[in-house]
């Protein structure tokens, strides 16, 4: 279970969210000018990244707002959460530093729920 920090509501369980696929796919300027192949690629073709991936999420049982997230598709680490419309933050160097401006306190970084709580009890 992921623990996702909603920019409005703070950390919540993954079950409260819905996934919105790859982020930063712009609607074509002139859809009528596209060939069928280009249109199909806009609609259906998505990256299948192994590693850090920018994706959209919506807090569907909370504030019902969309946001972007940089998530590692291998480790499930969440590197950054940032507002819709913002460019993808550069996280090539230090992870966990990013996170867009104007987010709620404590929003940017989260780890997976498995790693976060009760780790001291089991040891």
């Amino acid at each position: 279970m992921l623990l996702i920090s909603c920019p409005n509501c703070g950390p919540r369980d993954e079950t409260e969210f819905h996934y919105g696929g790859q982020a930063h796919i712009a609607y074509p300027e002139n859809p009528n000018d596209l060939t069928d192949r280009e249109w199909a690629e806009y609609l259906f073709y998505r990256e299948n990244t192994k590693g850090t991936f920018a994706e959209r999420w919506v807090h569907s049982t909370g504030c019902r707002q969309w946001f972007n997230m940089l998530r590692d598709t291998v480790s499930y680490d969440i590197h950054s959460i940032y507002a819709m419309g913002q460019p993808r933050p550069d996280t090539t160097g230090e992870y966990g530093q990013a996170g867009g401006a104007g987010l709620a306190p404590g929003a940017p970084t989260t780890s997976t729920a498995a790693a976060a709580p009760t780790s001291s009890e089991g040891v």
Binding site: D13, T15, T61, G62
Partner: protein, 214 residues
């Protein structure tokens, strides 16, 4: 309102009241017998007037709406309004106004029409959602223990303070959870989930009827 009502209006209100069925009405006896006074009690507070509002709270329309609801909450968890009418935060521009049933227009109140007038023709919406949700009141020293069986939020008083309301999940269904005082929670499930959640809570409360095993 009552003192100025004509006989025709009173008859209409009586007709409305008589025709209503609350979503967990059939569980009322079970709630009574399943409650453990002093430990944890459950009851339905039916027919509360609820109005969904979408408005930019810093706009003029937001200010006009806020004057009726006793302010509009700014952040997640905040509840405004000290009296009977309260506004709960659902999203940055979305709020739920909760008020006693008498304030609903069909029972002689003016809440919905007042809010509609306040919004005027500005951007936003005012929607009567009174039949959308019902209200459960979970009360007692073990109310938190019952909720903690299913709620993934941290309900400890140092985090979840009295006077806050959040939308979250209980028993995998979306609800509004409003902590009105230290041992009192109001839960707003959608009407179609009321039967399920009512029975779920009764089941969760059952162990507290027995003496605690050390």
């Amino acid at each position: 309102m009552a003192e100025t009502a004509t006989p025709a209006e009173t008859a209409h209100v009586d007709r409305v009241r008589g025709a209503r069925r609350s979503p967990a009405e059939h569980l009322a006896d079970a709630f009574t017998s399943g409650s453990v006074p002093g430990t944890v009690t459950l009851k339905e507070i039916p027919y509360q007037a609820m109005v969904g509002i979408r408005v930019e709270r810093t706009s003029d329309a937001g200010a006009r709406v806020a004057s009726i609801t006793g302010g509009l909450p700014a952040t997640c968890g905040e509840v405004t309004g000290a009296g009977a009418v309260n506004a709960l935060w659902l999203g940055p521009t979305e709020f739920l106004v909760v008020a006693p049933e008498e304030s609903h227009d069909s029972l002689g109140g003016t809440l919905v029409s007042d809010l509609t007038t306040a919004l005027g023709s500005d951007e936003g919406q005012v929607v009567d959602l009174s039949a959308n949700r019902t209200t459960f009141e979970l009360n007692g020293s073990h109310a938190r223990a019952v909720l903690e069986k299913t709620c993934s939020l941290d309900l400890h008083p140092r985090v979840f303070k009295a006077g806050t309301a959040v939308s979250t999940e209980l028993a995998h269904i979306p609800v509004m959870l409003w902590k009105t005082s230290e041992e009192n929670y109001r839960i707003f499930p959608r009407a179609s989930f009321a039967d399920f959640l009512g029975r779920w809570l009764l089941d969760a409360m059952r162990e507290y009827a027995s003496p605690e095993v050390p």
